[in-house]
Point group: C2
């Protein structure tokens, strides 16, 4: 990115390497690029939920996105900018979850072949959902193989473009379209929120969303929410550098277990976030039950951490109106049943 | 209604009594009247669900409507036309379910007091939800009291306006705004459906929706879907007159147990519907599971009968693209869990 591309007032942030630094302008470009490829998801609320929370809560229901999570946005934006002469090689990604489906669907809709490296012991429902989008699945043995090596080898052999889950400016910009929709939808409801909270693993969603909402509301307080034991973002923000999880954590938020913040995402987060919030699995389960009862939403554990922060008192008390991004809804029926029945 | 108010091409239908006959024009008026009082709900689809169904299915997610069902639409339209000098008396309704919440919320938002006559043994969650909208609840004894008599007495004593659940042209017109949104949203997706299916109890939703969608697509095939044992609409359409359920039926679709079609709604249905479809509780449970897995929607049993018809082969095979209205999502967690786990 040249400085001419930066909008006045945007923070002067530099990511590692030669990649452009994600900016609000890139999020606007992404929104234009992926219009028609992704669904505008609703911004929902329920007075009965607000009474329980003691504040007004708006839920951005990315659980209703095509593929059941926001991951389609970044993948669509990334794949759409692959140069014409590289499209034939298709794309490769490694993921056991929402990113797999997002890449598979985006590639399918943009007409590129996709191969997804997935653990051989991943739930059949996730393998099937990825194949259902027309992707080839390359299973690997978690104990004896490296998914990164397999992915890089496939990229070399096929000339495929590697689509990273978060540490890529085009992925960040695509996820940020969630924030543009939030700003537009809240304004249409006559609401100016005091804070926006996103679930956070590698930081793609919260980085992009922060760029987008702060383009409309420059002083908006944006928070990352993480499960206890996987609070690498909160600790990295506090430390001012990338700090990894210690690997001893245990959480049922299977979508949020990235080991450390991204090289692209952490600089953005340092310049745009008000802080990191940490919730327990119990907080998350209660948020899932309340979203079911009051909003009629199916939210997966990793998708409910932002709402959990707003409901459990982890968010500062003075926040009267908050937007919580419910980032995904891919949870199997048996687990969802167990959570509903406590 | 005078004939001058009827649009050319509209069927010449006459309801019993002095009430205006519901028309597409009344649905358009309702949409203007209740804009800002109701939520535009999304029209959702999932390719993985389409593969299972063998056809393209679009689900109109009224489960995501404020109060968790479409009932808010009709109630808002009905209450909004109460003359100024009758507003002080407020409104009265009897319902154990979605209509109770719809009337309570509509009255609250329009600034009128509401009293809802509900069975004393109704689930606490439904009594609470109704009270949460600021309505007074008048419990009655199902065995020894008549809710109609109580409602009429309250109406006399307080000068309150009775808001019927379906047999009122303004209720029909309000529910019909679902159909206007379907027509607009499908057109925006570039889709011309072959059929529209609504769940059906007294016929308010399907009557209004049929008027609305056939205003855009005059030959659209609109079907009512009902649970087996409560197929009074299907039988009334076949018989050409109002036929009641025999009272021996048993279904877990608690929202769809009206004893017979309405006097206002049946004439509309006779002129606008392609027919009635009948589904089993097993069909409904499977539709709820598939909506959870593929669309991340919480649909209550009565809200899933339209989708059940499209998934179970009850809908004619030649229908390649169908819109199913998911009319509500008010189901308690214990029942939903049991259904998810089969």
């Amino acid at each position: 990115m040249t400085s001419a591309q930066m909008k006045p007032g945007e923070p002067d942030i530099r990511a590692a390497g030669d990649e452009p630094v994600p900016t609000a302008a890139m999020v606007h470009d992404a929104a234009e690029r992926i219009a028609g490829l992704v669904r505008e998801t609703p911004l929902l609320n329920a007075p009965s939920l607000d009474r329980i929370a003691g504040r007004r809560i708006l839920v951005k229901a990315e659980s209703l996105q095509i593929t059941g999570s926001f991951k389609l946005r970044g993948a669509s934006n990334r794949i759409a900018v692959i140069p014409e002469d590289h499209r034939g090689g298709g794309v490769v990604a490694y993921s056991s979850g929402n990113h797999a489906q997002g890449v598979a669907a985006a590639a399918s809709r943009l007409g590129l072949p996709a191969i997804i490296v997935m653990p051989a012991d991943a739930p059949a429902v996730k393998l099937d959902a990825t194949r259902a989008w027309g992707a080839e699945v390359r299973p690997y043995d978690r104990q004896n193989e490296s998914r990164e090596e397999i992915g890089q080898q496939l990229a070399r052999e096929r000339g495929a473009t590697l689509v990273k889950p978060y540490d890529d400016p085009y992925i960040v910009a695509g996820q940020g379209t969630v924030g543009l929709e939030i700003a537009r939808q809240a304004a249409a409801m006559g609401i100016r929120p005091d804070a926006v909270v996103c679930s956070c693993s590698g930081g793609g969603l919260v980085s992009g969303t922060a760029l987008a909402v702060r383009d409309t509301w420059p002083d908006m307080a944006v928070y990352a929410s993480e499960p206890a034991g996987f609070d690498d973002i909160a600790r990295s923000l506090a430390a001012g550098e990338r700090v990894a999880n210690d690997g001893t954590g245990d959480s049922f938020c299977d979508a949020l277990l990235a080991p450390m913040p991204g090289e692209v995402t952490l600089p953005v987060m340092r310049h745009t976030l008000a802080g990191g919030l940490v919730v327990t699995d119990d907080d998350v389960a209660e948020a899932m039950r309340l979203a079911f009862a009051h909003l009629k939403l199916v939210i997966e554990p990793g998708g409910a951490v932002a709402l959990a922060a707003a409901l459990s008192g982890k968010l500062p008390k003075e926040v009267e109106t908050v937007v919580c991004v419910a980032s995904g809804g891919n949870v199997d029926g048996a687990l969802f049943s167990r959570i509903l029945t406590g």
